[in-house]
Each structure stands twice: as structure tokens, then as C-alpha cells.
Amino acid sequence: MQETFISYKRFRWLWITAVGLLVCTTMYALNSPVGGNNGGTALGYAFGTIAALGIGLLMAYAARKRAYRSSLGTVEGWLAAHVWIGIGLILLVPLHSGFSFGLDVHTTAYVLMVGTIATGIWGAVNYSRLSGKITAHRGGATDATMLERIGELGKQAEALCAGKSEAFLQVYNAFDVPLDLSLWSIIVKERHPSVNQKAAAVMLSVISDAEQRDAIAMIGLLDQRLDLIRSLLEQARIKALLKLWLYTHIPLSCALCVALAIHIVVVLFYR
């Protein structure tokens, strides 16, 4: 199996995170402060500090990714750390709070963090599952060539309609689904179904023998066109999914930062 940012250096950051969490959990289990575990205990403060530093490190990824001259590790290594440490925070933060949650700014920060992490996982899964499926990366058709071919097929089908009967034009109208490249069309896949064979057969039966050959050729062309449209939309969907998650991840992480800052100020100055 080839190495990815997830398995980077034999899951180095997974192991580091796992060992760290194991140590923290053990300390948590052995610790029995008066009033039970919570964020106000010494251990609670320690875990809180570690978690805040962890979040700081995760945010620093954004800076490292753009520090193109930096020789501080590789961006891939940073991403590996970002993913595994981020996942680890899901457990570390409850250890910090003694698993106490409520309807307050503190739990809001946790919820935002989990949301950020969840969207991050969504992104990581998309990266892992979809990256190999971009046909243009594999010597296949690019969007531009597909669009061009879709146009050609449409024109060829249209050309066959010249001087044909009403029945012939009905077949054309039935299967000449307009090209819809809207986001909605990309997400809902079935906007451009293949030619329905049964319906096509019914329509063909009322077309004169003289026009039969052209009608069949036209249906073939339109079906090819629809297949290609679906491939194009599939590629668009893949590319959208590779970017879309970021539009949730980034705002959530910004909101998390604000909530975290409020949480720290409230805890340190108002308790």
C-alpha cells in the first residue's frame, strides 16, 4: 500500500497521539480530586493547556501550508499531524472537562471543535477516496474535451432532425435533455438519465420506415451525449467534494477560535 498523509511514516502521528491519550487517560483514571474531575483541577488545567496548544498547532498548519520557503518539515507531515492530533482532541477535551457538559459557552466551544473535526474527517475521507478518480489525472478526458464532445454529439443529433416528421422531432425532444451544470445538478445525480429503452421503442414504432435508420442513429448519439454529461458531472462532483468540505471546515475552525478565546477568558477571569 502506498503511503498517504494518513499513513505518513507508518502512522507516526497516530501512534504519538494514541500514546499521548493513553498516558492522559491513565492519569485521569488514577486522579481522584475532591469534587471529582473537572476543568478546574490541576490535571484539568494541564489537559486544557495541552488541548489549547494542540488547537494552536492545528491552526499553524494553515500558516505552514503557505510558508513555501519553510524547511520546517513537509506539508504532508504537517497534514498527518493535523489529522491525528485533531482526532485525538475529541477525547482529550472531555478528559479536561471531566466529561461535564452544559448549555454554556464552554460546551459551545467543544461542539464547534467536534464540528470542525468532523468536517476535517469528511475532507480526509474525500481526499482518500476521490483523489484517484479524476480522469484528467490518468490520461483520460479533461472537462474541456468532454464539453466539446457533448456539444458535437448534440449538434450531430440536431442535424439529423432536418426535414424530419413531427414524430421524429418528438423523440429528439424527449431525449435531448439540456445540459445543466448547476450545483444542484452536480449533487443530484439523476438529472440526466440514460435514454429509457422502453419509451424509445414505443416512440420508434410510430416513425415511418424511411426515418427509422436516422432515428436510431439519433437515439444512439443522444444516449452517448447523456453518458458523457453524467461523466462530466461525476468529475465535477468529485472536484466539488474535494473542495466543498473546506468551506465548512474553515468557518467552523474560525468560530472555534473565537469560542475558545471566550472560554479561556471566562475561565481565567470570571471564575
Partner: protein
């Protein structure tokens, strides 16, 4: 006829001190000197004065190369128009009252102490004869089918006579370049250059033609020859295969054949039977016949100024005046600081270096003026393995040691030479060389000078070819075999060139030869059980192919098909020769058989994968087998974030030197448009300021001396070099941040990947890839990347 020397009776008994044959620059200068000193002389000319200049295109600007060399003559010459120079010659001859006779000399015969010169219309005698007839008499022919048709010419006097035609000019010398440039004004011109550079041309011409090629005015085929000619088209062999070019006329400017027979009947001897050989002359230009001097192009000196200086020097010598050649100060400069100086060391060079024994004295002087002498002590490193320097070294005295690896060394002594791999364009040094004897004197000659000698002196070419083969066999194939075996093999070996994509041999054919790859790389493919030909591996330069079929005494079929992955030079070793030699050297035979058996086992263990084979094939089609360091992107991991391009632009003044989307891709590999730092970099082929160079660590970089001529952009087959204009930004400023800073348009510069030489962490593209899809690899990793076992 303005001269009255036609009288028959008067000539029969005429005697001159000096008879000068040929009124070209050398003959004119000699006659001018003789007339100046009042020596009885005659100057014979069958055609026009300075015939070659006369034949130039009208109003052609004649150059005065080499610039550094001073002119010494009693007639004038400086760069200027054809008309001005011809007029000055006429005036000076008239002013000095030179004795010009318009007649063709038919024979020269030495009778006792005098020469009898027979010419059209008479005979005369002379004490000294100066032969300066040039080589323009007999143009070299193309020698290809279709040449007999009327559309091939060997001279061009009026390019204005052609318009709107398709014209092919063949040649890479000054005549070809000047004709091509003049014709390109009104015609579609293609230039066929047998080599990859314009090494023989004057620098100025070389720049002009490269500019025209870059500007798209002339199409140039490098490494190409005319294959055959048809009435409306011509077929041209190029490194990428045969192409057909529309063609109304062919102008072949391939130089001229020396009038060797005429010279030989006069008693002049030649150092070798080579058709390119020039007569041996002393440093006073005296031939093997005492009193008979040969000047100018006949002895390999085609330049006007050099020829005129020779004419002057010969007359001084005949007058008994001590005279030094005009280039003497330049030459002596090379010896400053050496114990014994010029006087002691200069004679050593020709005496100790047999490689240069066929060079005429002037050729030797020119080579030395461009070379450097090094006096070194034992242990001093001449160059290191994997350095990318490209000069050529000869051991004038002392010795050096070549470390060929595994603790083995080869010792070279006086008269031997090394560094020949550097002559094969930008290859790395394959071994470290150290001085091994006290007071070792080495001669370091620039690549361009040696290439010039290879092109003009047959024995230098042969000696270097044999050395290439010997070293290639010794280092790559048979390191432990005795030298006599290798030497015998080299004597029987043959050089063969293959174009990209050309099949060297096919699977199943009976093997008749093994090949050592001298330049380029070879694709090995085999028929899969499905019947499809699948790429299996590639073999780089310095390695060998086809050995299995030739070491066995039985007829052995080829186990694989071998195809040239890029243009290749191979050394062919014939089966019969190998078998015969192996019988004579039983020890060698045993060790070679062991090596062959090992390869057989490897082959048997090799796996089959059509998918992997196709991927390897794709990568080789992209020219990656020539890559020293190429950026590849793993499509399984790439999420098209283009952070690689952003990183490249951010670290290179805002211009990305890689284009991810623009490149080709196949299966799991994308090959972005980005420099591969080729083993044989074509970009370096013609860089006028020599700005393109290899750093000692192997990157091909463009230095600041770049003049933005764009030759490299044209020569790079992979389109990775761009011309950029922007001035370097002065760093951060508020104006710059707000986008208000005026961008000044700087001078044009070529730009390409420099492997982020200035960054401590290495190439930013790879380090900025979040998914680990970007990688930088050497061609030796291709087989692994394709997912095949290394064989």
C-alpha cells in the same frame, strides 16, 4: 586583362625568386610582401582576385575573425563590405606593383634546387613556391538518391533570384548559415544540420542563425541528414524519424574536397589517408618538399586574417628574417608561470601528445590558445566523479589516476587523455581523477575546440571514438578483463546510431551482436503471453544489451525486443568477434558467462504486468529515461489543490516553473511540464553566453549571464523553459501589498526549474504537497514506479 603577363615567349625562360599560386588572401598578402621588399615574384590566378570573396553575395559583410588576432600584412584588410575589401586588394596590388599573372597553374615540379611551374601558356622557374589555392575548387556532394535532379546546387551567388520557394540548405558552416539567412528573406527555408550545434561557424554567424531559428524564420533539423530527394520534396532523417519537407531547391554547402591529387603530384605528403587530412607543414608552412609552402584553407585555415598573416610570415621567412606568427603573444600567454616557459614546454605538447599529431601547426596553435595548462602535484584532484564539467584533458607529462570504483584505479601516463565523456554534452564525470606523479603537466581543452578538431581531423575523431569504446567497455561491461582483450574488441567494434523509437533488435531474431550504450537509453520489451509487446525495463547509457545471444556458441534467439528510448549511440560487438576473442581469453569467458547466467535467472524471475509495462512505456515516451531529476505526481493521491504551483511561484518571483495541468498523464502518473534536468540536456546545445550550465550537484540552471535569446526555449523538447521579463521585486512594501507598486519590465531572461537551489529544504513543490503526491525521481526509479521488479 589589365596585366600584361600573357606573352608566351617571354615566359619560357623566366625565373622568379618566388612563385605564388592563388590570389586569395594568403597569396595576395604574400605577393604584397614580396612586392614591398622588391623580391622578383609572380602571382598566378586562374579566376578572380580573392575568388571566394568575389563569389560572396553582393554587399555581403565580410568579418575579420578571430577578433583577438592582429593583422600583419602589406595590404589592407578589415571587416567591411565585399566590394570595399575587393577594391582595397586591387588598389594595394596596383600600388605595390605586384606581378599578377592570370593563368591556371597545371604542374609544379622540383628540379634540383628550383621549381618548374607549368601553367596555361608557359613555364617558369622559381626558387620558392607558395601554394595558396584554397579548397573552393571541388564542392563536397550530398551523395544521396535524387541528387542528379536539377534542383541541387553547391553555390549560391544571388539569393535574390529566389522568391516564394521552399528551399533546403544543407550544412552548418558559415556558407550554409549565410545562404540560409539570405534566402529566408523571401522563401521558406529549412536548414539541415548534421550535428547538434554550429561549432564550426563564426560566433557572429552562429548567433544570427540561432536568432533566426528561434524567431521561427528558419526551421532547423539538428542531428539530421538528407535521405533522398524527389522533384517537389526531400526526405530528411532526423533523430525523431524520417520527415518529408516540401522542397523546390536544395543548396548544399558541405565544404569542399581538398585538391589532394594535385598536391600529391607536387610531392607533398599527407599524414594520413583520411580524406579530411590536411598536408603536414612546418610552423613556417613549409611542406614535405623543401621550398614549397602551403598556406590558408589548404592547411585547415579558412579565415581571411589568418591566411594573410601566413602570407606575410612566409615572405619574411624566405627573406631570412626572424618572424613569429601573429598569434605568438596569445600562445605564449598560455605558458606563463610554467618552469621553462614557452620555449621548453611548447615543443613537448606536439611531441608528447600523439592524439594531436595530425594537427597542422596552425591548428595546434589555435587549439592551445583556447586551452589551459595545469602543473599539478600528486594527490591534486583534476575533477571529481559526478561533477558536471565538460573540458577535455591530455597528459603532457607525468601521470594521473582514474578511480573507477571499488578501489580500482587506472593509471594514465604521458600522451594519454581523459575527460572524453564530457564531450557527450552534459554528462556527469564518471570517475574522480587525481594527479599521480610529481610535476604533472595537464592540458585542459574546452569542449568546443575538441568538437571542432573531431569534425576536421579524422585521426582525432577515430582516436576519441576508440577511447570512448574502450572506456565504455572497461568501466561498464568488463571491468576485470585484461586490456589486450578489450583492445582487440575495440578494434573490431563498430559505432551505430539509432533514432528515437528505432528498433535495435527484435525478440526471436537470432542474435548477431551485443551493444554497449554510449549515449541515450534503450527500452526493453517482451511479448506477453497475450501476444502484446510489453515494456519491461529500460537500460541507461554505460550499460549493455543483447549479450546473451552472443556469448553462447550456438545460434541464440533474442529474449526481448530493444528499442531506442531517445536518440542513441551504441557500440556494436559482433558475435563472431566476441566468440573468437572469448576462446583466446578463457578466464574472461568464465566471468562473462557467470554474469550472463545471473541475468538469465533475473529474467526468469521477472513478473509480467501489461498495466505496469504500459505505464513504463508512457514514461519513456515522455523522455523520462533521460531524466536526472524529474517532478512526477501520483494521480492516486493528487487532489488538484495546485499547492505545488503556488509554492513554485512563491519561491520564484511570482512565476511558476511548473505546469501541472498542462502535462501528460497516464494511469497513476502525471508528468507536469517541468524541467527534468536531463542527462543529455538539449537546452545547453546552443547557449551563446554559456549561461545554461550544470551545477556540480547536477541541476541544470540558467545563470544571470542569460541574454534572453530563447535558444534554450526552442531546443528543449519538453517545453519547460519560458522567457520572463519582470524585474525582481524589492521585497515587501505597502505599495506592493496593495498592488500599487509599478512593475518595471526588466530584460528578457530564460526561466525554468532550478530545483530551489537557494532553499535549504530543497524543491518547494514537493515539500508543499499536502498529500505526498508530488515526488522527485531519477530515471533509475522509473521501473519501480511502474510497479515492475528491477531487472
Amino acid at each position: 586583362m589589365e596585366n600584361s603577363g600573357w606573352g608566351l615567349a617571354g615566359c619560357m625562360s623566366e625565373h622568379f625568386e618566388i612563385a605564388i599560386i592563388g590570389a586569395g588572401p594568403a597569396g595576395l598578402a604574400a605577393a604584397a610582401s614580396a612586392a614591398h621588399h622588391g623580391l622578383p615574384h609572380v602571382l598566378f590566378e586562374k579566376g578572380e582576385i580573392a575568388n571566394t570573396i568575389y563569389d560572396y553575395q553582393l554587399r555581403k559583410h565580410v568579418m575579420a575573425e578571430p577578433g583577438r588576432l592582429p593583422l600583419r600584412a602589406h595590404c589592407r584588410f578589415e571587416a567591411g563590405s565585399r566590394e570595399k575589401i575587393l577594391q582595397e586588394y586591387q588598389e594595394d596590388l596596383g600600388r605595390l606593383k605586384a606581378n599578377l599573372r592570370r593563368a591556371e597553374v597545371l604542374r609544379i615540379e622540383k628540379k634540383g634546387e628550383t621549381f618548374e611551374v607549368g601553367y596555361q601558356g608557359g613555364t617558369c622557374t622559381a626558387k620558392h613556391v607558395i601554394l595558396a589555392i584554397g579548397v573552393q575548387g571541388a564542392p563536397r556532394k550530398l551523395g544521396v538518391p535524387g541528387e542528379e535532379q536539377g534542383n541541387v546546387a553547391y553555390t549560391l551567388s544571388d539569393p535574390g533570384a529566389f522568391s516564394g520557394k521552399h528551399i533546403i540548405v544543407v550544412g552548418a558552416g558559415d556558407a550554409a548559415i549565410e545562404n540560409a539567412l539570405a534566402l529566408a528573406e523571401k522563401n521558406t527555408v529549412s536548414l539541415v544540420n548534421r550535428g547538434t550545434e554550429f561549432a564550426r561557424a563564426k560566433d557572429a554567424n552562429s548567433k544570427l542563425i540561432l536568432g533566426a531559428i528561434e524567431g521561427g524564420k528558419i526551421r532547423c533539423f539538428y542531428g539530421a541528414t538528407v535521405a533522398r530527394i524527389e522533384p517537389q520534396s526531400a526526405h530528411i532523417n532526423t533523430p525523431d524519424g524520417e520527415v518529408t519537407v516540401p522542397c523546390d531547391h536544395i543548396i548544399a554547402r558541405l565544404g569542399c574536397v581538398l585538391p589532394r591529387k594535385f598536391l600529391e603530384t607536387a610531392g607533398i605528403t599527407f599524414p594520413s589517408p583520411d580524406p579530411n587530412a590536411v598536408p603536414s607543414v612546418s610552423h613556417r608552412y613549409e611542406s614535405s618538399v623543401p621550398g614549397l609552402y602551403v598556406l590558408g584553407a589548404l592547411i585547415g585555415y579558412p579565415l581571411i586574417k589568418q591566411a594573410m598573416n601566413q602570407g606575410y610570415e612566409v615572405i619574411e621567412h624566405i627573406r631570412g628574417e626572424p618572424v613569429q606568427p601573429a598569434d605568438q603573444p596569445l600562445l605564449e600567454e598560455r605558458f606563463v608561470g610554467l618552469p621553462g616557459g614557452f620555449a621548453e614546454n611548447f615543443p613537448k605538447i606536439s611531441a608528447n601528445l600523439p592524439l594531436f599529431k595530425d594537427l597542422s601547426a596552425p591548428q595546434l596553435r589555435e587549439m592551445l590558445i583556447d586551452s589551459t595548462l595545469h602543473l599539478k602535484e600528486p594527490g591534486a584532484v583534476v575533477f571529481e566523479r559526478n561533477d558536471y564539467t565538460d573540458t577535455f584533458f591530455s597528459v603532457v607529462s607525468g601521470a594521473v589516476e582514474i578511480e573507477i570504483g571499488l578501489g580500482r584505479t587506472i593509471k594514465l601516463g604521458q600522451g594519454q587523455f581523459f575527460g572524453e565523456m564530457g564531450l557527450l554534452s552534459g554528462r556527469r564525470r564518471v570517475a574522480t581523477v587525481r594527479v599521480a606523479a610529481p610535476g604533472t603537466l595537464l592540458l585542459e581543452t574546452p569542449r568546443k575546440q575538441v568538437l571542432k578538431l573531431i569534425a576536421s581531423v579524422g585521426s582525432v575523431k577515430r582516436a576519441l571514438d576508440e577511447l570512448f569504446m574502450f572506456r565504455a567497455l572497461q568501466t561498464a561491461v568488463f571491468p576485470d578483463t585484461p586490456e589486450p582483450f578489450l583492445q582487440a574488441l575495440v578494434k573490431r567494434a563498430e559505432m551505430k546510431s539509432f533514432k528515437k523509437g528505432e528498433v535495435i533488435f527484435r525478440e526471436g531474431d537470432l542474435g548477431d551482436a551485443a551493444y554497449v550504450i554510449r549515449k541515450g537509453s534503450v527500452k526493453v520489451s517482451r511479448l506477453a503471453p497475450s501476444g502484446k509487446d510489453i515494456a519491461r525495463t529500460y537500460v541507461p547509457a554505460g550499460s549493455y544489451i543483447g549479450e546473451m545471444a552472443v556469448v553462447s556458441e550456438e545460434p541464440t534467439p533474442r529474449s526481448a525486443t530493444c528499442t531506442a528510448a531517445v536518440a542513441c549511440d551504441l557500440i556494436a560487438l559482433k558475435k563472431d568477434d566476441v566468440i573468437q576473442l572469448l576462446r583466446e581469453f578463457p578466464d574472461t569467458r568464465a566471468s562473462i558467462h557467470r554474469e550472463v547466467d545471473r541475468r538469465r535467472v533475473q529474467n526468469a524471475m521477472a513478473d509480467w504486468s501489461e498495466e505496469a509495462g504500459s505505464l513504463l512505456d508512457f514514461m519513456m515516451q515522455q523522455g523520462l529515461s533521460d531524466a536526472e531529476n524529474v517532478l512526477l505526481i501520483n494521480s492516486d493521491l493528487c487532489v488538484s489543490c495546485d499547492n505545488c504551483e503556488a509554492a513554485c511561484a512563491a519561491t520564484h518571483n511570482g512565476y511558476s516553473r511548473l505546469d501541472r495541468k498542462g502535462g501528460k498523464s497516464f494511469a497513476s502518473i502525471q508528468v507536469p511540464i517541468s524541467c527534468r534536468h536531463c542527462e543529455n540536456p538539449l537546452c545547453m546545445t546552443d547557449c551563446p553566453p554559456d549561461a545554461l550550465t550544470r551545477t556540480p550537484s547536477g541541476e541544470v540552471i540558467i545563470r544571470d549571464s542569460c541574454i534572453g535569446c530563447g535558444n534554450c526555449v526552442t531546443n528543449c523538447p519538453y517545453g519547460v523553459i519560458k522567457i520572463v521579463y519582470d524585474k525582481a521585486s524589492d521585497g515587501f512594501s505597502l505599495r506592493a501589498l496593495l498592488g500599487l507598486a509599478k512593475k518595471e519590465k526588466g530584460p528578457a531572461k530564460a526561466a525554468k526549474c532550478d530545483m530551489c537551489a537557494s532553499l535549504p529544504g530543497g524543491p518547494a513543490c514537493v515539500r508543499a504537497c499536502p498529500t505526498g503526491a508530488a515526488m522527485r525521481v531519477h530515471s533509475s526509479k522509473l521501473v519501480e514506479i511502474a510497479g515492475l521488479k528491477r531487472i
